[in-house]
Symmetry: D2
Subunit: 299 residues, 4 copies
């Protein structure tokens, strides 16, 4: 039941952007989509979206544009410059930034938009692509207060619930990073625990089954117990190379904030160990392999 | 629906032993109880249990005796010696060892019992005292195969489910230690994450609420989110001094098994930091205070 | 006995640059100096150096210019742009980059210089200001091969020995970062060891004295034993805030290289802990205070 | 120039005990030696020592007995019991305990000796076997004050210098453990640093050479730079399995003292990783192999 009849811009059709844009189209929004590799946009065009040939062309002046790009540099590239989001959006428009980026980049990008008279809302999401496809994302919102009601219908189409934080455009990103930090920690902790089991000739699958039924009876743990005990590391749900990006965003944010996070640095070292062994294209849960090798287990 | 009419010995009426013994009495078992401090046994006696004045008196020859004591040394003390469990139990009896101890101690104690012709079953539990009171424990069993059917009715009275592992008496203890390691890790990870939030002026309670509804929607996390954000560290559900014992059992087992567990050592250091500041009598979730102080937050 | 009669540019008169420039003047080189705060250059002018009012004015076309600035951003700022070192130096000139920066920045800056026909030599140094004043620095050189003989007389005037590495302009910076990593590690290790002593009522000064005479009989350890046991943290020889910069350069280089460095991340967390407590202006050896507090010692 | 004409007991002829006993004989002391494997004593007997067939026979009543055994359990075994050191030494005798053991064991053993009227001096040493052979050990003494002058001539024969600490028999052991912790830390730090060099195509031997000439110009570093860059891990100067014992003594002492030592736990994990890969019989500097493998280097 979309109440927005103007074209909505959507920039970035990666693993997450694709199902999110589909969700918007299915909910009745008129979308103009842009992606560096335009072939990714074909299914959206078939469902009625307009294909923009440039970033500028995907930004409705005074309207709403969503960005969902791969990293901080990509976000800065699409928002800045005379043909970028901030310049084109102009006064009264809303930039909805859904990428996983650092709070510093969020604040910098927000300033670019606001300097041109626009509004910036950071709205990173919790959930992998399959959850996006099911419109079950959780959306974390912070930044400008005024345009929130304008964008909520979009969020309602993409996710199951939206959580509102304050005016700091970086706040939502920090909450997202905390979430990712806690997920990676769970992966590492599961890995160490199962290594201890296996090294003692206790079936890791049985341990995983017991723990997943008792104290750790939540989808997150059950999912990673399954991935790790069955070595389902390819195709990756989330590539380990991107995992490094995320954990480094956590650590750089912690560094800027003067917050020591020893668990985060353990994971950082674990990811590097696995990347050094050529596992960057596996799912990031494959960091378990490093933990198993460290215990002298065959992997 | 107890099918055992002989007296069952129950040694050790601490925070966990008390509700577990009550559960057995309520289920119709005849109990003989022993505790170093006999006053703890009074409520059980009032409900029909017999009070033993010595360990030996609480061990039914050829029958079943449960031990639930505080640590490895206490277990070795009650099982060994001429008046201990192993000697008194004799041929055909079953020692059910429910304490959290190292697998090495479990194996040593099992040998003492088996050398006298008895059976040893290790059966540590998952759950805090309130869960024991609700007969909702999860029970992990390993050791002798033959007497398992004899003891299952007891477990059915105390817990919601029993999980069976193999013949190694140490296996169940290792599974228990993995569980405790994963719980303490969750506490530390929550602490670091919330420190990052608070240091960035984001309300930790709101972050906890969002995470607990989304990816970390399981009782364990919700419980520790609540304890930590509301500083409910006293009275302790589980004293931090005992937490040190548990994490040290994890590390010593990992050491014996040649399994590096960097997350476990982070927790070890965190617990020491907090004990050094005099927090041994608080709930072990109070290790969060050290994480907050490290971030320069007032606690 | 300088063999270079042309003017040498020297940009950056900080704690290290000041004594290094003096050493060159004293050795007979003609210097043109530049510093953002020109008052720092006064003593050099009194000794015969010419004061440049802009970076450009301090760069002898086709000659040699030394930069010794505070960080990567400052180096990029002075080398890049139409009035920067690379543009002004022109064909045949030599840029000698002595700052502690990342190998990535070194390579980028080298490219800027080489694109204009110049040569780039990275030449970071080992040693604090007092060692620079005594002309006892160790100088690590890498980058262009051809102009090495031209710059060696300068190094001979500033240091006791020059070590030559290969053509990668980043190599010398990596060696420098390894050195700094090892120094910070020594500080942390000393801190933990002395905390253990003091907590056991053993005089840390006596322990330091014994260790410094026996296995750790080298100036580095003796110096930090003295600083730490006597709490000589102010005035700082090297500010802790700069220490964070250095350890972060180590970690980012390790990250780019896919090298897990768990000791480096321990130090990273330790520095953050101390910065969070407001110790950024103390000598970086004051990270010991965090280690002592963690052990429950008064500091 | 020994001033002691009575027989001195010497128990424990391992890698260290052998050269230490030789040093005493060469200095003119009358020795009675005991070792579980008596063949080890043959060279000493040829130089004039008497071979004892039991521990008891090696303990001169009221005299001096030195113990240099492999671990805490071995020390407790030779000192306790009716035929042990404490019982046989009797009133006025001196037990000189030179093994690397925990302070707790030292205090327990001291009590056994003192309960029988004897004196206990803890006197662990710094230095490997080759240093013992050269009589260049450093000896750390704590415990009873009264008999110190009686034992100093022995120490003068074995070492280059003796350092006196207070009456706590555990103090000397703690100083020894701090020393060993610092040595293992140096090994780990060197390993991480050289991994970073090699991964960046910088010759580790050249880096080691530069660092060993500049800031890390002390025998300890030069020795480990050489061992690690040349992979001289066998025959072991100090077996990695024993290294685990030592680092675990450090950590258990830190635990008892409530002193978090994150560097020590990094090493603990590193040693386990290498032991899991079957390197227990190599020199403990071979922990470097784990660091190199983590960086994706061939070892």
């Amino acid at each position: 039941m979309a109440q927005i009849t103007d074209e909505i811009g959507f920039i970035g059709l990666g693993n997450m952007g694709v199902p999110m844009a589909h969700a918007l189209i299915d909910a009745g929004f008129k979308l103009v989509v842009y992606n560096r590799t335009s072939s990714k946009a074909q299914p959206h065009v078939e469902k009625g979206a307009r294909l923009a040939s440039t970033v500028a062309d995907a930004v409705p002046r005074g309207g709403i544009v969503i960005t969902m790009v791969s990293d901080d540099a990509a976000l800065e590239a699409v928002v800045g410059g005379e043909d970028g989001v901030a310049a084109r959006l102009g006064s009264g428009g809303v930039h909805v930034s859904m990428s996983t980026v650092s709070p510093i980049t969020s604040r910098a990008v927000a300033k670019l938009v606001e300097d041109r008279g626009g509004y910036h809302i950071s709205a990173p999401v919790f959930g992998r692509p399959e959850r996006a496809a099911a419109r079950q994302l959780w959306i974390i919102m912070s930044g400008a207060m005024k345009p929130r009601d304008r964008v909520k219908p979009l969020f309602a189409a993409m996710g199951q619930k939206t959580y509102e934080f304050g005016e700091d455009p970086g706040a939502a990103n920090i909450v997202k990073l905390i979430n990712n930090f806690m997920i990676t920690s769970a992966i590492e902790v599961i890995s160490e625990g199962l290594a201890l089991a296996e090294k003692n000739n206790i079936d890791p699958k049985q341990v995983a089954s017991v723990l997943g039924e008792a104290m750790f009876n939540c989808p997150l743990y059950k999912s990673y117990f399954d991935i790790i005990t069955n070595r389902r590391f390819t195709p990756p749900g989330f590539r380990m190379e991107l995992g490094l990006k995320d954990i480094d965003l956590v650590i750089s944010t912690a560094t800027d904030s003067r917050v020591p996070m020893p668990m985060a640095t353990v994971i950082h070292n674990r990811v590097l160990q696995n990347l050094a062994k050529g596992r960057g294209d596996l799912d990031w849960a494959a960091v378990a392999l490093g933990a198993f090798e460290d215990a002298g287990l065959k992997v």
